[in-house]
Symmetry: C2
Subunit: 414 residues, 2 copies
């Protein structure tokens, strides 16, 4: 894409009421627009990053045989009453409204209830199991405070997945299979080494749930980490019993600020029992289905990547999610020869299948480089007089600042 075509512009200052680093940088670089506190729109470059994250998550969820669907924002009161979660004293993040046709309607902050209810249409016999479904859904949560930018909003995108099994063994096997699938996602996003499967509070049927916590100063969570053994414990379950069970001592743990980028939760048979989701076993007996739920915060992940990989100059995207791989920066000025060379090189890069943003704007080199650093594409390819005269081309690696000279052919095979 030509940068002169892109309607967004960089800006020097973020809005004064924006306190989080991730949103400050994303707004300044034109990736997102702040609609109100905790509510952000995604502009062309931001949408490209989101779609890249979603693609990676989609591939990994499909690989563990989950099937993509999309549920609704509008929620039925009667359904949530059945599981006692309509009450504002129990769930304090509901947005609710009156239906013109009569009655109340809720706005989806979670989708366990409607998905469980819907699956009654498709899960009748044990032969219909196991099954797993997932969606990318915009969640709406009436949070009292929203000050972490896109890491914790009133409106955000989540991948939520739900598994259904007819016996405990296949249920637990699926639950375990999501751990490597999740870690694959985080590895591909470049945060695998900094993300820990963390013991957290369970429910009626399991001692623990598991959170995926990424080391991040701006994160809202605190975990206790034994890096050597790779054991991480959320402070909410940091008891002597837990320590004994996990074979670690309190002394060996390091207190670390983290962001929760995913979680997996084992409902046992409780949720299905509440919802009345049962199957006939081969023996003809009715039993409640085993369920699990598995979340990944898509927009939160984008915020975490910005927090972790940015520097004083701007954003540093991992190559897997960057909106473009290469930032082609022309320093043509008034030199028509350089401009023509850069134009032709841009076309050649596109033909070579390289995702490229072409800064064809009529600006000084300093401004272009500052914008390029702020935008954070992995490689900056600079076309000045030397390159246009057939010399080698300067390629700057955004993450390390390394400068390499490459031939035209080498750049085209990047």
């Amino acid at each position: 894409m030509r940068q002169s075509f892109l309607f967004t512009k960089t800006r020097r200052e973020a809005p004064k009421d924006e306190l989080s680093k991730n949103a400050q940088l994303l707004i300044r670089a034109g990736y997102v627009h702040k609609e109100m506190a905790g509510v952000y729109a995604y502009l062309p470059l931001g949408l490209a990053v989101l779609e890249n994250i979603k693609r990676i998550v989609r591939e990994e969820m499909n690989a563990i045989d989950s099937q993509e669907i999309v549920m609704t924002t509008l929620q039925r009161k009667d359904l949530w009453e059945r599981t006692h979660r309509w009450d504002d004293d129990i769930v304090d993040v509901w947005f609710k409204s009156e239906l013109k046709a009569g009655g109340e309607v809720g706005f989806g902050w979670s989708h366990e209830e409607p998905i469980g209810e819907m699956m009654k249409n498709f899960i009748v016999s044990y032969k219909d199991l196991p099954v797993s479904v997932y969606q990318f859904q915009t969640k709406l949560r009436n949070e009292l405070r929203a000050k972490s930018g896109i890491m914790r909003g009133r409106e955000f995108v989540m991948k939520d997945m739900y598994s259904f099994a007819g016996d405990e063994a296949s249920h637990l096997a699926y639950y375990e299979s999501t751990k490597p699938a999740y870690m694959n996602v985080f590895k591909r996003l470049g945060i695998g080494d900094d993300t820990y499967i963390t013991f957290a509070a369970g429910g009626a049927f399991t001692k623990f749930s598991h959170e995926f916590q990424t080391v991040c100063e701006a994160g809202e969570d605190v975990i206790y980490l034994n890096r050597e053994k790779g054991i991480a414990i959320n402070e909410e379950v940091l008891t002597d019993e837990t320590l004994t069970n996990l074979g670690v001592t309190r002394d060996s743990l390091e207190k670390v600020s983290t962001a929760e980028v995913g979680n997996i939760f084992n409902f046992g048979q409780q949720k299905a029992a509440d919802l009345g989701l049962a199957v006939k076993t081969s023996a003809g007996e009715d039993i409640a289905v085993w369920m699990g739920s598995y979340g990944i915060g898509i927009t939160r992940l984008m915020g975490v990547l910005v927090e972790k990989f940015s520097d004083e100059k701007g954003i540093v995207w991992p190559e897997t999610v960057a909106p473009f791989k290469v930032h082609l920066v022309s320093l043509a000025g008034n030199d028509e020869g350089v401009r023509a060379y850069a134009d032709a090189f841009y076309e050649d890069m596109k033909k070579a299948g390289i995702e490229v943003l072409y800064d064809d704007r009529d600006l000084r080199a300093g401004e272009k480089f500052a914008d390029s650093d702020l935008l954070g594409l992995p490689y900056r390819v600079i076309i000045g007089k030397d390159a246009a005269a057939g010399g080698e081309i300067e390629v700057v690696h955004r993450a390390t600042g390394t400068v390499e000279k490459k031939t035209r052919e080498a750049v085209l095979s990047m």
Copy 2:
């Protein structure tokens, strides 16, 4: 995809409270799930159709240089008050809720106001124009009635696009360019010949807006059509003056039921004036920007395609949007040889790049064919004893019922 893997199932009956043909068929075939009146979830096959429609729309909007973004569901009261559209007496489809942090919030039924407001950050000078942006957005509308299935819901997906221009000539040129772009969309969906650009009520600044009306018995609109001249008039503007201007007589018009699949609207400078969106001209003068808005109902289109192309046996998808091109139906029964042949042929079809749903289920031929007709994939490829023994393969065209015998190689190059 193997049909035994797909979690959805066909059903004989739609829910009793579902009166529309499109939703009845889509629910019976497992494409959608009804959450409540006018609110539908999209299951794997339904989501695939939606994504195909979106892909076509996206390609055509990108081709007229529009840039994709995504705005927010949550809406600011102060912004909509400025254009006098917060008031429930003026806009009667708002869902609204209280923010825990104080104040009211709306849920997006349209996005002209927030997009116009956001663009103030990016449109400052006439040099920043023209620009066009679009999104695929879930719209929420508090409709009193919802009885047309996915053709008119309380929650639905719309492509809405907004153009901004610095002078009237370029504004009108962009407005006109959207007409062929829209018609390309409808042609690619197979409804080009039945879709008419229809004169409809304009606003303060234009005599007419233009609707794209598709002939459809289940449609909620009525237009007056001169097929010979290709002139279509919405009944709301059917006056003597209109007839004279358009050079048609009342006698020459046919009254036709239609569904509005798209509309384009010229705001002139009024909307930007209301929002305070102005630019400096080359002469240094401040002028309000020319704006247009351009909608396409994505979920509605899916409903219209079902209404128009279904028959007594089920759905008939146009090839461009079908979730799979081919329905491979194995009639193996207990014959392991036929099963092995079908399994291998399925793998070969995938390798050949054919989008294929493989009915590998252990059911009678009659049940499989009934399901296949209901699902409505364009081609049914049948593998029985003869085919497995090296004979020609039966290929049934869903739309026409035509049966062809093809060689294995011919099927693989479909």
